[in-house]
């Protein structure tokens, strides 16, 4: 007969010691490293299983065989897989993502160029989505089952189910061609292209830095349509989630408490209920923002918007794997960054999660 004794109690203690502040930082770093490694590995493997010949992008279809063979060797494609991966990883660790075959530029340079375009678009779209989506969702929730609820729902759903290229082209036709409210495809009118030296890469900010208000308004009128169309998607999602979170909160006891205090309905909804709704909502918004930051290829094609989505897709279709890998890492980093940001916001908004 042996009593149960507390096993490895000291071990646990020690484990707990590591789980202090430095420990949790260490754990975060470790899990980030794993995630990135996974991303790289998956991308790399994709590059290998892709039935697209990466050499073709570099030499074209009509190159003679000897050029083809030489370039293939230059690209390191004749090495064993693990060796290629190892070389790639060790370069990445040194901050070198290599060169893109398609643009003849270092991948890093390319990303510095295309990511701000996407960032600008996604940020504005998310902004519009949040500014319109939350009130729409609240409005639907407080009118649950009545016609405003249905209207919000159907409009949201329509945004969800129309292909973006349809919306994009129709938007161009109506607002650009017919009504002349907005400018056409591109980030600036074509003959302005050379007028602006990218500082941040964000056209709205660069034009302001330049101090040229004409350019700024030109940039605004270019971005507003694609941003609105992207926003439609996040709006639909945000409104819907807001609605359901709101309904949940409105049935909570503390709402009753607020009513007992004689507080106006307005304050109850926008301060009390929404304050709580924002807690889960930041995660939703962050996720939809992160998704937009991947870049929407279709929007980018239609609006001639040189963004990340198009860059990665195009690179993938040409098996320009350095570019794809670089892009994936950026998207992954953005994703993780946005998630961390949402965690921070979550903590900020929800005192229960602090400490």
């Amino acid at each position: 007969m042996s009593a149960v004794t507390r096993k490895n109690r000291d071990g646990r203690k020690r484990a707990r010691l590591i789980s202090g502040k430095a420990g949790s930082l260490l754990r975060i770093v470790f899990s980030l490293a794993i995630t990135f490694f996974g991303l790289l590995l998956v991308t790399f493997l994709i590059g290998r299983v892709l039935p697209i010949d990466p050499v073709l992008a570099a030499v074209g279809d009509r190159a003679p065989q000897d050029v083809y063979d030489r370039v293939r060797e230059e690209m390191g494609l004749n090495l064993p897989l693990w060796q290629q991966f190892f070389i790639y990883i060790s370069n990445v660790v040194q901050g070198d993502f290599g060169q893109s075959v398609l643009t003849a530029n270092p991948v890093i340079e390319d990303i510095k160029r295309v990511f701000p375009a996407t960032l600008e678009l996604a940020t504005l779209a998310t902004f519009i989505g949040v500014v319109l989506g939350i009130p729409a969702g609240v409005f639907a929730a407080i009118n649950k089952g009545k016609w405003p609820d249905h209207v919000v729902r159907v409009i949201g759903l329509a945004g969800y189910s129309m292909p973006i290229f349809w919306l994009g082209l129709m938007g161009l036709l109506v607002f650009y061609m017919k009504l002349d409210w907005v400018a056409g495809p591109g980030r600036l009118d074509a003959f302005y292209i050379d007028f602006i030296e990218p500082t941040t890469g964000l056209m709205l900010i660069d034009t302001l830095i330049e101090g040229d208000m004409d350019l700024f308004w030109n940039a605004v009128s270019h971005i507003i349509l694609p941003a609105s169309i992207l926003a439609y998607f996040s709006l639909a999602y945000i409104a819907r989630m807001t609605r359901s979170f709101m309904l949940e909160q409105l049935s909570q006891e503390y709402i009753l408490t607020a009513r007992v205090k004689g507080i106006s309905e307005h304050r109850i909804i926008w301060r009390h209920a929404l304050g709580n709704v924002m807690v889960p909502l930041v995660t939703v918004i962050a996720l939809s923002y992160a998704n937009l930051l991947e870049g929407s290829v279709l929007t980018e094609i239609i609006f001639a918007w040189p963004g990340l989505g198009l860059y990665i897709t195009n690179s993938l279709l040409n098996a320009d794997m350095n570019a794809v890998l670089g892009g994936t890492v950026v998207v992954g980093a953005v994703f993780i960054g946005v998630n961390m940001l949402s965690d921070v916001l979550y903590r900020l908004l929800d005192p229960r999660a602090r400490r």
């Binding site: 909570q252 006891e253 503390y254 009753l256 408490t257 607020a258 009513r259 007992v260 205090k261 004689g262 507080i263 106006s264 309905e265 304050r267 301060r271 009390h272 304050g275 709580n276 807690v279 908004l349 929800d350 005192p351 229960r352």
Partner: protein
Amino acid sequence: MSNDPLLNVKNLKVTFNTPKGEVNAVRGVSFSLGRERLGIVGESGSGKSQTGRAILGLTAANGRITADELKFHDVDLANLTPKQWRKVRGARISMIMQDPKYSLNPVMTIGDQIIEAYREHHKVNAREARHRAIDMLEAVKIRDPERVFNSYPHEVSGGMGQRVMIAMMLIPEPELIIADEPTSALDVTVQLQVMAILDDLVRDRGMALIFISHDLHLVSSFCDRVLVMYQGHVVEELAASALHEAKHPYTKGLLNCLPKMDGDQSDLPILEREASWAEG
């Protein structure tokens, strides 16, 4: 105890529309209330809470209130606009909820929630309001009011939370407080301590109190008068001191079925319900 009635309730009915048909939660409750402590007891689902909520106009959206009379002083509570309600709620009639864990907004500090209750009804600046709030926290025997003022609800214990709740509901100095099982989520000893605070405050400020509970014993030792409810009806009304003289079999049954401390392990008497009770 002055005898001019604060609240007059005649034939109050609360009916809910549900997918399964109508639910009559309260079926004709009448009573009048002066500046006294009135207890409402009854088993779960007997309509205690709904009676209390109807007085504050807080019946859920699918519910309907009818009453021959529902008057607070000369205010007809049955026909108030939302705006008029806001003048009554908090300022003149208030309610203490059962569970502080769920009844306080988790993302607002306790201080903000108390101040909000006060400033809704008193035009004072922020500093003044803060002052009042801290005083009030002290009044409910919170030892470190400054700290609690800046805390969030999850950072205080249940007993503390309930004190905060009391402070919040009393700060606008209402004339009538409805306490819906204010202590049943708490430990026995804490429960009594919280009740003592409530007792003191109500007494000092000359408020009327409706105390809702399912614990007959507790209610009778705390209140002046007791209403016993069963299935939406008041089956008996008695003075607290006269509890042992209760006549209604339901009331007696409730009293009997409490286990005693005497260590007697024989079966407890069981309440045998009769259909006729539900007719009122």
